[in-house]
Subunit: 307 residues, 2 copies
Amino acid sequence: MSIIVLGTMAYDAIETPFGKTNRIVGGSATYVAYAASNFVKPIKQLSIVGNDFSGEEMKDLESRGVELEGVEIVKDKKSFFWSGKYHMDMNSRDTLVTDLNVLLDFNPVVPASYQGSEFLMLGNVSPNLQLSVIEQLTTRPRLIVLDTMNYWMESALSDLEKVLKRVDVLMVNDSEARQLSGQFSLVKAAKEILKMGPKYLIIKKGEHGALLFHGDQVFSAPALPLEEVFDPTGAGDTFAGGFIGHLAHTRDLSFDNMKTAIIVGSALASFCVEKFGPTRLKEIRRGDIDARIRQFVDLVSFEIKLV
Amino acid sequence: MSIIVLGTMAYDAIETPFGKTNRIVGGSATYVAYAASNFVKPIKQLSIVGNDFSGEEMKDLESRGVELEGVEIVKDKKSFFWSGKYHMDMNSRDTLVTDLNVLLDFNPVVPASYQGSEFLMLGNVSPNLQLSVIEQLTTRPRLIVLDTMNYWMESALSDLEKVLKRVDVLMVNDSEARQLSGQFSLVKAAKEILKMGPKYLIIKKGEHGALLFHGDQVFSAPALPLEEVFDPTGAGDTFAGGFIGHLAHTRDLSFDNMKTAIIVGSALASFCVEKFGPTRLKEIRRGDIDARIRQFVDLVSFEIKLV
């Protein structure tokens, strides 16, 4: 079973209350790939990098079953670079630098070898690129998961609305759900958004976990209470990678299995924030992930013995 | 099995984005009593009211098994009055009026008939009053639950620290846990607070649910995603009443049963916010509560079938 992943492969420089790092590898597609490759291979990457993107990093990804045929390398430009500084609460951050570089030329072309994938993860890039990838696929994937952000709601809403009609699952955070729907109540927001196209909506609430909405059903997943969130960069993409990775591995698209996939995604994200960038994701093995998932089970399990 | 409840019985005038109400009955002890009396009788109230407190309200409470011998009625003063206005997000509010009135004279005297209660709920009043009640009891209750707030952390910290040494369970919200511990991470905050005396710490996170800490164990309870929070006044006290009510009813103080008690408290609180003040709490019956608890079970249950 394979997954096509559209997204950025980039460099980040990150400052948090706990420390500071120079250029380290980042980008939505990178995090998705590191997370999803724990469950399924190959991951078919659709991205763009510059002449500065590390060959070692490419090899590391390939060794994990990530195919890079769909990653365009632009010889005379640099990779997308982002730099940011997190505030004490880790929920808000200031962007210090955004150098789009190669991203200005990004026009993903789906290689012939990628056709026939049953799973498509549309990472957070411009809606017209997301739409272009959907339209290039000769067979519609069984499951299309969409990530997006407030920026596209403000600058490309009508394109985003077109994409929404074509996907199965939308992932956004709570403030984005409110913005997209114009509703403050997340329950009302979910009802509005589910009318826009997706059959499933995941609202990510950071340290407060996530909500899954489908029809009249709702599932509340906790986040693991952590002593320290060292660096939240990439946590949302890692969540997405664990989510779609589990679904692709099990090939079960029931609501019940979507719930499990959210727990798997949450477990992966809880590793991601422990060190800078994808460092921790590169260290963990399947046994670590299973142990973390058992912590989630313990965290929420209760028995009702009403007398 | 009986519960002694220390707290205010008061009048509130409330404005929310959904409406406005004139003087309606409120106060921490009122909400605790309405919630806990669903599970156990009698509730032995320790409070103070003025000459304006409704006799009908008193009768309503008595009909639910609430004993009022410990409620002092001050003939020449008015009851405590609070007026506030909630913002759109319902997590923040402005206090418009605080008329302490009889509260200035509050010096609770535990009636002889209250002695021997196995459960004590110390509602959010001055720590020296909470301490006074503990010291008046001839036999230490099996379980003492403490509610407090940031105001006392700022104005009466050393008294509060004395009370903390004498209680089993502390309930605070997330910002209060951070303030009391000086730690931003809630996990670290919990470790610090558990050193101050309580064996159990409940951190209430409003629409994001609650966390229970005990030794190295942690439990994450969701809040029910609601279409509308009509009026959050009293939700925390209602949660406390449901929590201690369930524990007093089952007489089981294990960690597992504390988890169930938090779900029961959350279910009661989810009713409280549906209408102004305690209106909804007066309407519900045991069947409504059990159905709501089943919604919580559905909300968080997931199966891990890792392949």
